[in-house]
């Protein structure tokens, strides 16, 4: 098949998927469980892919994703709360000091830009060091930014440790789908450009990459900033999904959740990250919910089922994946037509 026909078919399939999602929303209602999962899955897909760009494609072990999402989510919320509602939201801070609002799409972009700026600042000292320090430094950043945002003196901007709310949210499931698809598309284009090849070279062998004339620091910085930009955008989308934002929710557990998605999907596979996101969100929000509630069959109380048990099962699943299925669903391959054809061939035998 020619490359151009493949692209056309790919876009048609994507359009078909969007249509299906839209029809489901029509049929089931915006607040149904399926749609909730699809919304959050789309948001997490973008965030997971942005993390994969760093961890899977450039070989930089960063644990700052929740921090950059937090920055993105707050940037979005702070600038989009309608003027009329600011007094109520910032009730402890006399309506806050930001007395204007910007259109929501600009705010989403701004969320990415601010997160990218933070990344550029942190990256400067850290990316020159060995990769191990990056994990510690980014984890530290995420924790510190969470504390700073809740700092009372910053309250007029961030609302301290209180909720931000009443900003524009999703009206349709298609919104996160389209934004995520566009962003992931851009990341894919980057990965398949000459810069993406340089990222993979750095991941495979830093010494050889440097001997090929690749400036390690500049390329790591680029991957880090781009990844954080999209984590920021993802944070803004998450804020829209949730309807309210509070810094306290962006704990390092959130980063681990995303890291888990990346590992399950396959380090270095964009389509793997996307599939794993929907799978993960469906499990945690829906299919495994029953584990958290007590269940009586007749007079028999099913053992173990109680609040918190879901996390236990989850942890065990994670361990199983890491122990026996380290390459994840996709390894470092991508979902493609060729692969599909081969699959079919095998199935028809």
């Amino acid at each position: 098949m020619k490359k151009s026909t493949r692209m056309i078919i790919g876009f048609l399939l994507l359009a078909l998927l969007f249509l299906a999602v839209w029809l489901i929303e029509r049929a089931m209602g915006t607040n149904s469980m399926v749609i909730t999962v699809l919304k959050k899955g789309a948001v997490y897909a973008l965030i997971a892919v942005s993390m994969n760009l760093l961890n899977g494609f450039t070989g930089l072990f960063s644990l700052g994703q929740a921090g950059f999402m937090l920055v993105g989510a707050y940037t979005y919320a702070v600038f989009t709360i309608p003027m009329a509602k600011r007094m109520a939201v910032y009730q402890y801070y006399q309506g806050g000091i930001i007395q204007f609002e910007i259109p929501f799409f600009l705010a989403i972009l701004l969320a990415g830009v601010v997160a990218a700026l933070f990344a550029a600042l942190i990256g400067m000292p850290v990316l020159r060091l060995k990769s191990d320090y990056l994990a510690i430094a980014t984890l530290g950043f995420a924790e510190i930014i969470r504390a700073i945002i809740q700092y009372d003196k910053l309250g007029p901007i961030t609302n301290g440790s209180n909720l931000l709310k009443t900003y524009p949210t999703f009206t349709t499931v298609l919104f996160p789908f389209v934004v995520s698809a566009v962003c992931i598309g851009i990341i894919l284009l980057l990965i398949h450009s000459t810069y993406g090849r340089a990222f993979k070279a750095i991941r495979d062998d830093e010494i050889a990459a440097e001997a090929m004339g690749i400036n390690l620091f500049r390329h790591k910085q680029l991957a880090f900033v781009v990844s954080s930009f999209f984590a920021g955008v993802g944070g803004a989308l998450l804020a829209m999904y949730q309807g309210t934002v509070q810094a306290n929710a962006f704990k390092s557990a959130m980063t681990y959740e995303i890291l888990l998605i990346v590992v399950i999907g396959g380090m270095g596979s964009v389509s793997g990250s996307v599939m794993a996101s929907f799978l993960f969100i469906a499990c945690s929000e829906w299919w495994m919910r029953f584990l958290d509630s007590e269940l009586m069959i007749g007079t028999f109380k099913v053992p173990l089922l109680r609040s918190g048990f879901r996390m236990v099962v989850f942890s065990i699943l994670i361990m199983l994946v890491v122990l026996f299925y380290r390459r994840g669903i996709m390894g470092d391959r991508e979902l493609s037509f060729d692969m599909f054809r081969r699959r079919k061939g095998v199935a028809s035998k």
Partner: protein
């Protein structure tokens, strides 16, 4: 007097261990110069000093009269310094990173092959072309550099054909046999458009026939690409066949230098090699 490469009193110490001791050498345009010596003599370390992987303890390296590396013992190295040359190298410290040095026009291959293992042979060569790009991240992402990308792909394919790997372009680099991996490393190095090519044991693991072919190949690419070649090799036949001059080092010191014929008969060289065999 202009040389392509000039090493001035290079001493490289790892702590107290002197891996290279007061080494000076020069290479002229269009030459093939070999660096030989017993195992552990410091040959690879010399390459690493030239390419910026290691920073020498003392001495300077010039490439086309531009200083790319210069250092003198400082701090705790002042006390530890054990080079034969006692005068510290004059001038401010210069420590170019390997990528800058490659950009200036020095490319290398590695003794313990370092291909990008998750990538195809073709992609390995493409990565070698990245440093000559004119695109920026934005134009590359949004495909505003189609012309350049096409050119890169075309040149990468040509290079693969030149090293005889055209048929294996889409094979995973590490799935190729040893000899072909070494050729692929050369293709990748050529992709950076070097003026000076450093080859670290390019014939290691090759049989006699492959080694002969490699010799002819090195001479051919030297002429076709107007290169200067600096070569580390243990296969003496290959070295004697293609080298214009040979430097022999042992325990980090130069023990002989001259044409293949001169070096072959040098008593110091014979002693170094025989001594190694006796041990």
């Amino acid at each position: 007097m202009s040389h392509v490469l000039r090493l001035e009193n290079i001493t490289m110490q790892f702590g107290g261990v002197v891996a290279i001791n007061d080494l000076s050498m020069h290479i002229d345009q269009g030459e093939i110069v070999a660096l030989i010596g017993p195992n552990g003599a410091g040959k690879t370390t010399a390459f690493n000093c030239i390419t910026g992987v290691y920073e020498p303890t003392n001495g300077a390296v010039y490439f086309n009269d531009q200083c790319i590396v210069r250092n003198q013992p400082t701090g705790r190295m002042k006390k530890l310094y054990a080079g034969d040359n006692r005068t510290p190298c004059e001038g401010p410290r210069i420590a170019m990173t390997p990528d800058k040095i490659t950009k200036l026009g020095i490319a290398r291959t590695f003794q313990n092959i370092r291909l990008f293992k998750s990538q195809s042979a073709f992609e390995n060569v493409l990565i070698g072309m990245h440093l000559r790009r004119t695109s920026n991240p934005f134009s590359a992402t949004f495909r505003l550099n189609l012309q350049e990308e096409k050119q890169m792909r075309q040149q990468a394919m040509e290079l693969l054909e030149i090293v005889g790997l055209g048929a294996f372009a889409y094979e995973k680099a590490t799935s190729l046999p040893y000899g072909q991996q070494r050729r692929l490393e050369i293709a990748r190095a050529l992709a950076t458009q070097p003026r000076l090519l450093l080859l670290d044991e390019p014939a290691a693991g090759m049989n006699p026939q492959e080694t002969d072919e490699l010799g002819e190949f090195i001479v051919r690419i030297k002429d076709d690409f107007k290169l200067t070649v600096f070569l580390i090799e243990h296969h003496m036949n290959l070295v004697m066949d293609i080298s214009d001059r040979i430097y022999v080092i042992d325990f980090g010191r130069q023990i002989a230098h001259g044409s293949p014929a001169q070096v072959q008969d040098d008593p110091e060289v014979i002693r170094a090699y025989l001594g190694e065999e006796e041990a």
